[in-house]
């Protein structure tokens, strides 16, 4: 693959394209990502841009749907973007890979993290930990709290099913007993079926790999049904809304696997303030990843000294310990994060926000 | 005294000019019959009176009510009841429910029940079938329900569109007799019939409608003797 070399004409602004969902069921995340990325772009421009050129962000809707995403990707390519910093839904991101690849556009994918994305394409980099890495963190936590039986629940989406499958596999390898695996349909309200099952099987720990809306409901309904074990949820569920939906008193034994976020990092208050000023609301899930994606890409271009595809890829591969919210970043050979950077977070009942509980280092 | 007055009415269906400056009148207590070919505009006239179609221009008045603008349900409440062409029975409702609906505009439930009883008395066949779905009745049975339904509404002016269509000869005669009897009890009747022979027997006056306009009018007896009517509508 490769070849081409973007639609870059050498001067004028360097534009980064971002595909994210702005319509459809995942549309909440589009704005978070856009604002995060825009913040990074603004900051970089204030510092003089990249390679002395101004940076600009072009956003397209992928509606979390393959067809819309392909049209959007083609539109971005046509508009001459230099690099792609988008990708939230794995299913919609997958078909855009060959398009960007063929057009010679490097990609730093901020959120989408299905293992399917790791295909060995030269220009594709993932800065969100993959399912495998997140599952490893989850298993590590399960072992730490001394769980012997675990269960996994997913919502039948690509990311969630992937994560649950990885978790089950690694938990099995670690000698934990898998009580059951269950799948629910997202967008519904009633999860009493799994709730009942949890209450009757009573695994020590259950891992929910879907999003916060269903996660909150499941926690509540399972607790009502009489489940008393620990809840572990994936990064898709990390949002203050989780606790609101579950309701007060239902989140005491809920923890999540997550990458670091600004509010867990000291000195990030300024960042949050900047973001809020730009967006008019507080940052949400994947605001930081989008922010980091832009910075990672900009840094690589700066390092490469050119916007040429091969040079930028080399620049990305050459990054070492680049500072991100998720910790220092270095890409592995397959262009994923070396560590994944997953930590365990729990819910602060006062603010409903997720706060660092265990960095899994010890 | 004319109760119903239709003056220079034009009706269009899209580009089809169905009624052309049609004028006629019906006096209180009369039976007036409209004769005419297929497509002459007889049913259109009936629909005009019951508010289902609107005139482009012209006047339609009935006892001080402007039928050209009144809503169909208000027209029914005022006592103008239309038994439409093709019977229009509510097919999945029972005979009894159909009759009850005939009395929809009558507020007093007792009056409705009383009239229904009367209809059953008039047409025992319907009493037998009171629980049968309207749609499964034979053609003739449906016609009886349609007429019965109108009676339950307590009409002051009754519009009947081809009531004898599909009825056995014996029944045709009896239907005509019922019409005459209903009329005798004070109801004005406007009747559209292809069975001109029978219709002219009970009507006081008649109009011949052709391509949407009146081409001939007179007393029933006169028209029944008119050579042109005999040739076209009665048969030698």
């Amino acid at each position: 693959g490769g070849g081409g070399g973007g639609g870059d004409d050498g001067d004028g602004p360097i534009s980064f394209g971002m595909l994210a969902p702005f319509s459809g069921s995942e549309s909440a995340f589009g704005a978070y990502m856009q604002n995060g990325a825009q913040l990074a772009v603004d900051e970089l421009n204030a510092d003089g841009g990249v390679l002395g050129r101004e940076l600009e962000l072009v956003v397209e809707d992928d509606a979390c749907d393959a067809t819309t995403a392909v049209a959007g990707a083609n539109k971005l390519v046509t508009e001459g973007i230099t690099a792609s910093v988008g990708g939230y839904c794995s299913g919609a991101t997958l078909p855009t890979l060959p398009i960007f690849d063929e057009a010679g556009i490097p990609m730093v994918i901020p959120a989408a993290n299905s293992n399917e994305l790791v295909q060995g394409l030269p220009g594709v980099f993932l800065i969100n930990g993959t399912g495998t890495q997140q599952a490893a963190a989850a298993v590590q936590y399960a072992e730490e709290i001394g769980a012997t039986t675990v269960a996994a629940i997913d919502d039948a989406t690509s990311y969630s099913a992937d994560l649950a499958a990885s978790f089950v596999e690694q938990a099995g390898d670690a000698g934990l007993e898998i009580a059951f695996e269950e799948t629910v349909t997202p967008g519904e309200n009633d999860y009493s079926a799994v709730a009942t099952e949890l209450a009757s099987v009573q695994p020590d720990l259950v891992y929910w790999t879907g999003y916060y809306q269903e996660g909150g409901l499941i926690v509540r309904q399972a607790t009502d049904a009489g489940y008393t074990g620990a809840f572990l949820v994936g990064d898709g569920s990390v949002d203050a809304k989780f606790a609101e939906i579950a309701g007060p008193g239902y989140t005491d034994n809920v923890v999540a696997t997550f990458t670091q976020t600004p509010d867990m990092i000291e000195g990030a208050d300024q960042w949050i303030a900047d973001y809020s000023e730009l967006a008019g609301e507080a940052p949400g899930p994947y605001s930081t990843q989008a922010y980091d994606a832009v910075r990672v890409m900009a840094q690589a271009i700066e390092d490469a000294g050119s916007t040429d595809f091969d040079a930028v890829v080399a620049g990305l591969e050459g990054l070492e310990g680049f500072d991100t919210f998720a910790g220092p970043l270095t890409f592995t050979d397959d262009h994923t994060l070396s560590g994944g950077g997953f930590v365990i977070v729990s819910i602060d009942p006062a603010t409903n926000a997720f706060v660092l509980k265990d960095d899994l280092q010890g | 005294m004319t109760a119903l007055e239709v003056q220079d009415v034009d009706v269009y269906y899209g580009r089809v000019h169905a009624l052309r400056r049609l004028s006629f009148s019906v006096g209180d207590g009369e039976i007036v019959c409209l004769l005419g070919n297929n497509g002459a505009g007889k049913s259109t006239t009936m629909n005009l009176l019951s508010g289902l179609v609107r005139p482009k221009d012209g006047a339609v008045r009935w006892n001080g009510m402007d039928l050209a603008t009144a809503k169909p349900w208000d027209i029914v409440s005022a006592g103008l009841i239309h038994v439409p062409e093709g019977r229009r029975i509510f097919s999945t409702m029972t005979v009894h429910e159909n009759l009850l609906l005939g009395g929809y505009a009558v507020r007093d439930r007792r009056v409705v029940d009383q009239r229904i009883a009367q209809v059953y008395e008039l047409m025992p066949r319907l009493a037998e079938r009171r629980k049968q779905q309207g749609g499964t009745l034979s053609g003739g049975e449906q016609q009886m329900v349609a007429i019965g339904r109108a009676i339950v509404g307590g009409p002051k002016l009754l519009l009947l569109d081809e009531p004898s269509m599909g009825l056995a000869p014996l029944v045709v005669k009896q239907v005509m007799e019922v019409i005459a009897a209903v009329n005798a009890q004070g109801t004005t009747v406007l009747l559209v019939e292809q069975n001109a022979r029978a219709a002219l027997k009970i009507a006081h006056r008649a109009y011949v409608v052709e391509t949407g306009t009146v081409t001939l009018s007179g007393s029933a007896a006169e028209l029944a003797r008119d050579a042109r009517v005999v040739e076209a509508y009665l048969g030698a």
């Binding site: 809707d61 690509s158 | 009517v229």
Partner: protein
Amino acid sequence: MARDLDLALKHAPLRAPAPLFDRPRPATGVFTSQSGFLRALGTLAVLLLAALPFLDASRYTMSIATSALIYVMLCMGLNVVVGYAGLLDLGYIAFFAVGAYVSGIFTTVLGFPMWLALPATIAACIVAGILIGAPTLRLRSDYLAIVTLGFGEIIRITANNLEITGGPSGIHGIPSWDFGGWSFDDGFTVGGLAFPGYVVFYYFVAAVVVVVGVIGAGRLAKGKMGRAWKAVRDDEDAAEAMGINTYVAKISAYIIGAVWAGMAGQLMATHLSAISPNSFQFLYSALILMAVVLGGMGSTPGVIIGALFVSLAPELLRDFAEWRYLIFGILLVVVMLFRPSGLWPATAVLPWLKRTRPQPPPFTSAVGAIDQGVPDVEPSVMESVDGLPAADAEEGRQA
């Protein structure tokens, strides 16, 4: 002549007497006949289609044009089912999914070349058409709608849950057509004109398939089978009475619809190179149905317009970002309110070919007599009895 008839008609005991009078040959000119005009319009459309890449060969244009073409194909198929045969199908996207998945599985999992997947797709769609057709034979309208909807969901959920279909992330890396060593991906150069890779080139493939699909569906609708579909749509019992086996007619409509959708699915799989269950949600069934109804059920030009509208409107509204579905929704309502039988209804007559329906001729003898004899009828009214009044006669029937 008689021999001709024998060749054309099966043995039939009764033959019609020869027509009593010769009818004028129908007009065929571009502006004097409906069909001539449509044919000219169709030719123009094909020319435009061929010219598009020379006007704007950007990836974006080609990509949405290809998607739009695939929508046209889908809508033509659904038009057979809904527009011609009158069967409300709320799960039509299922056939699209079957086509896409069968070609995806054949090429990626089983490793066959794409052209070999074509017969497999068609076969699978025929089977799917029969499967969904069989239980629905006895159902009428809305019960049919829910069964088809259910079928659509079953297909999607199954694809989401099975290993071979790649689960929720679906299948990726679907190749495009290749023959021996040469693939569409490699592009093509003729006379100095480079067709860069599959973007432009694939557009041509899609265009050819879709043009064939549109013409084919149009032809089927005009023949014996099409008449049977429409008869079933208008009145099932009467159709039976005309010797049309309504079961067979309905199933055949399903099968044709399924095959069309399956081919569209294969085009889509190749176009996107990746498919996932998310693309086959109920919403898309609704969108395709919307295209057909919005354009005009049973009308080829209408359905094409509808398909273009539904596939391109969200793209054109892209710049409105978060507002676009709101605008789209309002637009839908407004269009339907103003054109309830669609943008180009099947019964549409070109405005300059419109003729008023002449009044039935006055009933000869009687009217003539009455004309002279009735004093109280005004003269102006008499005119209308005689024939058409001046104003109407003008618009009257043309030869």
